[in-house]
């Protein structure tokens, strides 16, 4: 198996924030922590582009390299995870990450910074799989249930793809080949391709 990866199709993302909501709901992420968020460029201008961003589970992750307590690890599936029992909340990983993925819950007086929290690719953490402890610290472990991240599976336009890198790349390649290209073209045709038979009439429904 290749590494687990996310891929967001900027031609399709409609900034509905369904992925953000799915992540929040699936992992019961507290207020102030956003494991995933949607970034829009040229918002409101025709041709605007949106992209859903979370931890990209880098092959050579800078967060792992800078962590002073070495709390990060990478699973065989290429998912970058960390041990919250070891994390000291220093924030080095936040400065190292090019995507702003590491988040720090702020609670109590003086804006005390808690232990780092980030997207786990819905793979939980170093606790017993699908246990209460794992859910409380890291959220849902969908990979252990044979599922893929909730954000990608919930995406209504299938802009956000998540899973085995080879499979995701093949899905995207097929899509790109079907819909053609053109930097100026935007809209339905670019996102979803053209119908095989444009003359085909929609079937007439009968009133019940």
């Amino acid at each position: 198996m290749a590494r687990m990866k996310f891929l967001c199709d900027a031609e399709r993302c409609i900034e509905c924030n369904g992925c953000v909501t799915a992540c929040k709901q699936e992992n019961e992420v507290p207020w102030g922590v956003n494991r995933r968020r949607v970034v829009t460029l040229n918002d409101g201008v025709p041709g605007e582009k949106s992209i859903s961003v979370a931890c990209m589970h880098c092959s050579d992750a800078p967060c792992m390299a800078v962590c002073p307590v070495d709390c990060f690890y990478k699973t065989e599936e290429g998912v970058v995870l960390h041990d919250k029992d070891m994390c000291i909340g220093c924030g080095y990983c936040f400065y190292a990450c090019p995507f702003g993925a590491p988040q720090f819950p702020q609670a109590g007086a003086f804006g005390v910074r808690g232990k780092m929290d980030k997207c786990t690719f819905c793979a939980g953490g170093p606790e017993k799989d699908n246990s209460k402890e794992e859910f409380a610290k890291y959220g849902s472990n969908r990979l252990a249930e044979g599922k893929l991240p909730a954000c990608a599976e919930m995406c209504s336009t299938k802009a956000l793809l998540g899973g085995d890198g080879d499979v995701v790349a093949e899905i995207f390649r097929t899509r790109a080949m079907k819909r053609g290209k053109g930097a100026e073209v935007w809209g339905w045709g670019t996102a979803y391709g053209k119908p095989d038979n444009p003359q085909q009439q929609a079937p007439k429904g009968e009133k019940s």
Partner: protein
């Protein structure tokens, strides 16, 4: 003359020792390996019982990584609408 030679030999010996000391320098970069770090070990997803969770729908053999990967790959195709609708 011999004292100069003796000094040179001493200097060479010191330089050699210094060089050896350099060999013992520890790597400043933390080396992380696949699945090995200072924290707790994590179980692999394939090692879970597919029937162990209430909402598991994928089917694989417990402990068989290949069957878990096959289940994940087939589920991945649900994100490919060209195999679903078109």
């Amino acid at each position: 003359m011999s004292s100069v030679r003796r000094l040179l030999v001493a200097l060479a010996a010191i330089a050699a020792l210094g060089g050896l000391a350099g060999c013992g320098e520890k790597d400043q970069i933390v080396l992380y390996q696949q699945g090995k770090y200072q924290g707790k070990p994590d179980t692999k997803p394939a090692d879970n019982d597919p029937g162990g969770s209430l909402y598991t729908t994928s089917k694989w053999t417990k402990g068989d990584k290949a069957s878990w990967e096959a289940a994940i790959k087939s589920r991945n195709q649900n994100q490919n609408e060209y195999t679903r609708a078109n």
